[in-house]
Symmetry: C2
Subunit: 485 residues, 2 copies
Amino acid sequence: MFPRIAELLMSDEVRRIHEASLEILENVGLEVANARARELYRRHGCRVNAENGRVTMPASIVEQFVQMVPPKFTFRARNPDFDRTIPDDAPLTMTASSAPNLIDPTTGEERRTTSEDIARIARLVNELPGIDIFSISVLADDAPPGQYSLTRFYTALKYCQKPVRGSGDPGNDSQSILQLAYTIAGSEAAYKDHPFITHHYCPVISPLKMDEHSTESLIFFAEQGLPSHPTVVPNAGLTSPMTLVGTLAQGNAEFLALAALTQMVRPETPTVYASLSTVADMRTGVYAPGGIECGMLNMAHAQMARYYNIPSCGYIGLTNSKLVDAQAGFEKALSCMAGLLAGMHVLQFVGLIESLLAFDFGMAVIDNEIALMLKRLARGMEMSQDNLALEEIAEIGPGGMFSTTDRTLRLMRTGAFLPEIADRQPRQSWASRGSDDAQTRALQRARKILSQSCEPLFSPEIEERIRGQFAGLVAGDLRPLETGA
Amino acid sequence: MFPRIAELLMSDEVRRIHEASLEILENVGLEVANARARELYRRHGCRVNAENGRVTMPASIVEQFVQMVPPKFTFRARNPDFDRTIPDDAPLTMTASSAPNLIDPTTGEERRTTSEDIARIARLVNELPGIDIFSISVLADDAPPGQYSLTRFYTALKYCQKPVRGSGDPGNDSQSILQLAYTIAGSEAAYKDHPFITHHYCPVISPLKMDEHSTESLIFFAEQGLPSHPTVVPNAGLTSPMTLVGTLAQGNAEFLALAALTQMVRPETPTVYASLSTVADMRTGVYAPGGIECGMLNMAHAQMARYYNIPSCGYIGLTNSKLVDAQAGFEKALSCMAGLLAGMHVLQFVGLIESLLAFDFGMAVIDNEIALMLKRLARGMEMSQDNLALEEIAEIGPGGMFSTTDRTLRLMRTGAFLPEIADRQPRQSWASRGSDDAQTRALQRARKILSQSCEPLFSPEIEERIRGQFAGLVAGDLRPLETGA
């Protein structure tokens, strides 16, 4: 990305974290609820305590399997032009996912979410050039029984041609998700040739417990050879030690256990080292993803990922704010920039406020602008003899002006990033346009996009086939937003 | 600060910038308005064109003098406990300076500034623990004739015991400033033993023009052996080329010319490599310090400063916003974090909005919180065997809770940074307290500090002596702010 990235750990400290994680896995181990996972671990040389389901893992076994993880991961899209591979295409940006609530773009009130909200967000993500991957941002309270995950993927894929990421349990309706994917692709073979859904799970409940269903999903998609990856989520002070390196060592151990499992299912299954390590605010015990420590932990996880030569992704750039205010701005931007400069390959931050509990359309538009600024920085200084402009400096000379040189005229729209939301007008002209804050402008931009009518990305034939397969599926229509006067 | 800092330039690119800057100084040179500066350059081997005042500088001369700059710089304070040296004490934070306007903390309206505003800001800076250096934030329209700079330093020093930085022209009233400093210190010798004012100038008007008065100040304070440093301020597209590396090469040349001059006056005069390199938004020609390019240019200047082994300071974390909104939050935080991770020693960003045109008390309080987050990150991961907490992880085991361990109880107020402005309450309890945004809370904090009565830091005897020396000097009283009902 650029010549030198920032690191919070010295190389011997990286090895100490690695060894501490191995020690945790060998001496403490994980309590594994899923029987197939226990059997996979046992068969490949780990010890399983039949009484309590505790799996302890010899260091040599963990290292042997983690080494099999490929160094690249591709997020595929319905439109292959939007396929993105890490680390090659890094830095990538992704929406933060699965909020139960949304700030209604018309009333400004918080409410629960529906499938139509997913359709609207899908459409917005599709239109915002700074966002690379759509991890389905909200839940869908209107999903019919048995069609919960299906409803979310259906509406997401219907309006977004970028890579879509999300979760669905095989015990529940993930067979339906695959059937949906095959229908959209034309056939199972066509889908498996270019699988445009990335499945995602949090199978470890910190500290050190592996669950039944998400673990089953991880195994299932690894068996199928379909793209999938887990995220580890320790929370310092509650579900991990109240120190950064203790939380890092435990979270890293949890990742290594999951990474080894995917390789035991099928060697060289691609995965991502994804982290959402946070701290609790121990004054009240609240979750504090907006804290600087979340940025620091993710920087360190990215460094561990580099040590293992595994692509990295971090939930970073989160905020505790309930509004899109200065707090949302500085909490997000501080840790996003930290993640970028620490060489994190995917920054997952777009759209959510309120500790991951609510999606806000204005926030997503602002996050798109932050994403474009991060990508500008990642392009670097663009050194060349021509860009040094020494002849021009000599020609203009002391006291001159560069505003009308050939170069300035040529680069005036590309030499510097031109924001759409950040206002740069002098106070008087800004005031004459209503003295709006950034969130007001961002919401206007979102409403404008959402007020335009928009065709689904599925053909009528595919739509008809989907409806034939899934009786009672939500309409998934995208009505233009009414913007009022 | 931490094991590895981020860099935007490869080491051979740093050398190319250095060589490009030398080429600019040798082939183009600077137009120098100040006769003493021209004579100093001439006497030390530079060529002076008597007709147009153009000074061209052989590369060997520039390199010879720049090498004399000491690797450290100390910002001294009236209270020596607040002395700060870079790079040792980095990262330091400083207020951004010399705005003509202020957002009134009572009315919320923008207005011109007075000496009482300086007193209030001095008091606030004194109380905010994240701010290390008070660069006098605003002008003083009520200053009596001939006492303009005197008025600003008098009110700043009267209420702030941290290092104070600012400008004052020797042709104008900087003799008065020194007299004031001697009086406060007790004698000229006592002051020169511990000079608690750092003088600051922008003697170069980009491109490549050195002015009369600020240049005179730089020479004057170097002669006196008093702490002083310049800042370079190219603006890509208007006063430097519309490319980042062209602007960097020109700005770096301007700094080298100034650094060499200080060493020609007096070898080993400490100075700082300070930059405020920005871009213009060429859609309208407006100044765009909130742009990501300002962060990038400052990162690169910090890297050049390291190449010369000179301490660095950057105007970074600026915003074009007219409000303390999400834009102010993300523009500031993105480039502050970029500066921090690029190893910049002083981040000068606190308090100003609106492209450096206005001070806002709420912004200063928010910036203090950003500063504390940056300083937390700079402390790093705090690796130790104890902090790895391996025994605790084993003891708690899978599925346990860390909330009541000895360590958690011991670290609950220090293990993670506890913000005062960033709100972390659940929506309901936040709403029950009025649904305030960050700026509302920050302004309340500022008003609370400013509503308390506060004694001046000068004794009545010193105050009396000052009044005896400077007839008609402003009162410099700090009336408690009325906070209403």
